[in-house]
């Protein structure tokens, strides 16, 4: 991982995210009144987070690879269905994945 990549992602993300937060304090509300925009915007976190789960748990670069991470995610799913709090979900996933990883 090059330092140029990580620094540029850090700086560009920080600047853009701040400018986006500023928008509402400076522009008229009617610019964002469209219902379609609101609906699509509400779905963006859902699709991006879903894709991030796939990318991090099932993919290595451009390949789908089922490994120890899969066991971790399965445990996280079970914990979420059991209504476990966030830290428990993450720790259970980490523990399962680490055990499977060391086993192999």
């Amino acid at each position: 991982m090059s330092a140029a990549l990580t620094w540029s992602v850090l700086i560009a993300t920080s600047v853009l995210c701040y400018l986006i937060k500023l928008v509402g304090y400076f522009v008229p509300a009617r610019w964002f009144a469209g219902e379609r925009l609101q609906r699509i915007n509400a779905l963006i976190p859902v699709v991006l987070l879903s894709a991030l789960v796939v990318a991090q748990a099932l993919a290595v670069k451009t390949h789908i690879i089922l490994d120890h991470r899969m066991a971790g995610i399965a445990t996280a799913l079970a914990a979420l269905f059991a209504k476990a709090p966030f830290p428990v979900v993450v720790l259970a996933a980490a523990l399962t994945s680490a055990v499977v990883y060391r086993w192999h």
Binding site: K21, Y25, R39, V46, A59, K61, I73
Partner: protein
Amino acid sequence: MRDAVSVALTVGAYGVAFGAAGVAAGFSVLQTGLFSLLAFTGASQFAAVGVVAAGGAGLSAVAAASLLSIRNALYSLQMAPRLEVTGWRRLVAAQLTIDESTNVGLAQHSLGPAAVRHGFWLTGTGVYVFWNVFTLLGAMGAKSLGDPAAWGLDAAVPAAFLGLLWPRLQDARVRVIAGVAVVFSLVMTPILPAGTPIIATVVVAVVGGWRS
């Protein structure tokens, strides 16, 4: 007040997860800490380091993070008339405009406008402190562990994403959209360059949200 404290504590747990995710993605402890100080919007930060961890280009990482932060613009539209801030306070209010501060603030609506402002500032400041302290702890902790896989860190990060996603899946239609997004990104992973399937799933949100 109780709302603000419980929100701030929950945020601490996410902060540790983000700190670990940043380091696992190849960011230094300093960069991971700066991310929380400067960007200060959890899901976007997770997305940016997530795309980098997936081997994606910098542009994809920044685009994913920015798209996720559009909701903050909608929050600031809500808060602007309620906070009535001017000058430098407006710049500070903007940085503190996130899910938690807006929602706790608006939830005080029945107690009057002063309570809304109080809830916003208290939650925003509390979350800012907790998020940054715990990001740093998570980043330093992850750094000292070494091989991320040996400690399950590579599974903890997607589990954290799943934890962020879960509360949004109450609605059946949203669950279908999430399912389509999962299938879409699985199919696109071998076809598109690394990291870009994440940003490409925005198509699913546009199609899914086009009609009511």
